[in-house]
């Protein structure tokens, strides 16, 4: 449905996008992930024809954006990062205007009513847009993108600045829309992308660093067989016990997190499951295991690994730990359970202290 070939965008010497290529199939929901300034919005602005690329081509449904801009634009509904709303209009007037400017052929009244029902803004239709809350403004922006029933939806950070309830609503709306639309969605919230999207593109400094399903991305970096274990008992003796177990590469004490216990990171040899021997060895010496979990990389860690230099990883993961905790605090439990985010958070905490 969307074919992007060798797309580059340069502002003087500054390279905003560097030779990006990917395709999006019909009916797919593609996630676009990257830190601020990575080139997400630039890519979206080029696909929608707002700005032009320096090099490369964009084809939507076989039409090139430069040769048939009107054909391409007819097929795309775009919600930019900042919804393009006229503050001095009412919701109804605004959508009427969008209907006209997009040259929609559908029945005017029933189509606009349908869109308003879909994003639930029917009750504010007569209000001035400037008096609406942030959440409603975002929804009016989404309604604008849906006018004309475009086959492709491009949504730039659609949930940014919304409260948790609204985030859930918008996400489920996007999932619903994904059934009969092709969607490209950008976000910097990883659980969001892994919850909604079938495929993820991670982009950094204008380059694509990874394209895959969220599951595969975690699998790629999962091969290290590491456990984090909390064991009650004196550290020296526990360490001795652990060293006697076959198949363990190394053990690293992490210090005390809970009275009378010590946390350890245990790395097993490849393709060895050491959980059973670990349990029996420790239980025979009466050192209870208080906690055990695998240190699979979460999408957050993959993201950080892919988008930051090796040397900076430590510093940034420490910062992101804080940032993500804040992110989480804004979200109610329902969201956090998506992709077992809480657990991943804990992993990061532990992981951060590892170094």
């Amino acid at each position: 449905m969307i074919e992007i070939q060798g797309l580059s965008k340069r502002y003087g010497n500054h390279v905003a996008l560097d030779n990006i290529s990917f395709t999006v199939d019909k009916g797919e929901i593609l996630g676009f992930l990257g830190p601020n300034g990575a080139g997400k919005s630039t890519t979206m602005n080029i696909i929608t024809g707002y700005i032009s690329s320096t090099e490369g081509s964009v084809k939507v449904d076989g039409y090139d954006i430069l040769e048939y801009p009107a054909e391409v634009k007819k097929r795309i509904g775009y919600l930019p990062e900042q919804p393009p709303l006229y503050m001095d209009m009412t919701v109804q007037e605004y959508l009427d205007f969008v209907y006209e400017i997009k040259k929609v052929k559908l029945n005017r009244k029933s189509h606009i009513d349908e869109v308003m029902d879909l994003v639930k803004i029917g009750d504010v239709r007569k209000r001035l847009i400037k008096n609406l809350s942030k959440g409603y403004k975002q929804r009016v922006g989404l309604a604008q993108a849906l006018i004309g029933n475009p086959e492709v939806l491009i949504l730039d950070e659609p949930t940014v600045g919304l409260d948790p309830k609204q985030i859930i609503e918008i996400r489920s709306l996007i999932t619903d829309l994904g059934k009969d639309h092709t969607i490209i969605l950008s976000s910097h919230i990883l659980p969001e992308v892994s919850a909604i999207c079938e495929r993820v593109i991670i982009i950094n400094k204008g380059r694509i660093v990874a394209i895959d399903t969220p599951e595969n991305l975690s699998r790629v970096l999962k091969n290290e067989n590491r456990l984090i274990v909390r064991i009650a008992g004196p550290q020296d003796q526990v360490l001795n016990t652990l060293r006697d177990i076959d198949g363990i590469n190394y053990v690293e004490p992490q210090g005390r997190k809970e009275p009378e216990t010590v946390d350890y990171i245990i790395e097993a040899e490849a393709d060895t499951d050491i959980r059973k021997p670990l349990f029996f060895a420790l239980s025979s010496k009466q050192y209870p295991i208080m906690m055990m979990k695998s240190m699979d990389l979460s999408l957050e860690e993959i993201f950080l690994q892919l988008t930051t230099d090796e040397s900076k990883t430590l510093e940034i993961s420490a910062q992101s730990e804080q940032g993500q905790n804040e992110d989480n605090a804004e979200q109610p439990d329902e969201i956090r359970t998506e992709g077992s985010n809480t657990e991943e958070q804990a992993n990061i905490e532990e992981g951060g202290q590892e170094e």
């Binding site: 209009m89 205007f97 006209e100 400017i101």
Partner: protein, 234 residues
């Protein structure tokens, strides 16, 4: 284009700008009319419009300042430019909306000649000429304002720069008498937006002047489109 035109025209009257423009334009034109025609019993209206040129220079920047700068600042240009309308459609729609406000103002001032007709027999040719000339000059001023508003995101900058440009156009031929070089002097004189208006007030409908104003407008509208086009590529 019609969608942009309708929205823009309505925006003028949803915000104070349309009323401020009409209000000051009519207040001052009424004042000039009362002073030079009513109170002195004089039947020629061209003096009123001669004075109104200066008013026009001040109020046109108010009319045009937000046309494109506001779109860019609030990022609503993202909607316009990603919709299946051409850039030309957007720019021309906006230009016509501003022009419509000027037309509304001029239509209201038609009361003055009507009053003159009630009490005397003014020269109809001169009145028509004055109106056509004033309209063309106003249309030219608006095209300058439109162009300037495409250059900046700030409405204030846009208004000040438009006013400055219009003022420069207004005083451009003051320098002519002191220029030695005949060619340059002739060129400036030829270019003067104001000189041509004087002919209209005398009831002369010269094709050359009409073509001049229309080309002037076309050039600035075209430049505006180029500015927006260039921004997408840079």
């Amino acid at each position: 284009m019609t969608a942009v035109f309708k929205r823009e025209l309505r925006a003028y009257f949803l915000s104070p700008i349309g009323y401020v423009f009409l209000g000051f334009f009519l207040l001052l034109s009424g004042y000039f009319f009362a002073a030079s025609n009513l109170l002195s019993g004089y039947a020629y209206i061209n003096g009123v419009f001669g004075n109104l040129t200066i008013v026009l220079m001040i109020v046109v920047p108010i009319l045009t300042m937000r046309l494109l700068s506001e779109e860019r600042k609030t990022k609503t240009d993202q909607l316009l430019l990603t919709s299946p309308v051409s850039l030309t459609g957007v720019v021309v729609g906006k230009y016509l909306a501003a022009l419509s406000v000027l037309i509304i103002a001029l239509l209201i001032t038609c009361i003055y000649p009507i009053i003159l007709f009630v009490f005397s027999k003014p020269a109809i040719g001169e009145i028509l000429g004055t109106y056509i000339g004033f309209f063309l000059m106003g249309a030219a001023f608006i095209s300058v304002g439109l162009f300037v508003s495409s250059l900046t995101e700030s409405q204030v900058t846009s208004a000040v720069a438009s006013f400055g440009t219009l003022l420069l156009l207004y005083v451009a031929d003051w320098i002519v008498p002191s220029i030695q070089n005949q060619t340059i002097a002739k060129a400036i004189e030829w270019f003067s937006v104001l000189n041509r208006f004087q002919d209209f007030t005398m009831g002369i409908l010269s094709l050359e002047h009409i073509v001049y104003y229309i080309s002037f407008i076309a050039v600035f509208v075209f430049l505006t489109i180029r500015v927006l086009e260039k921004r997408r590529w840079s």
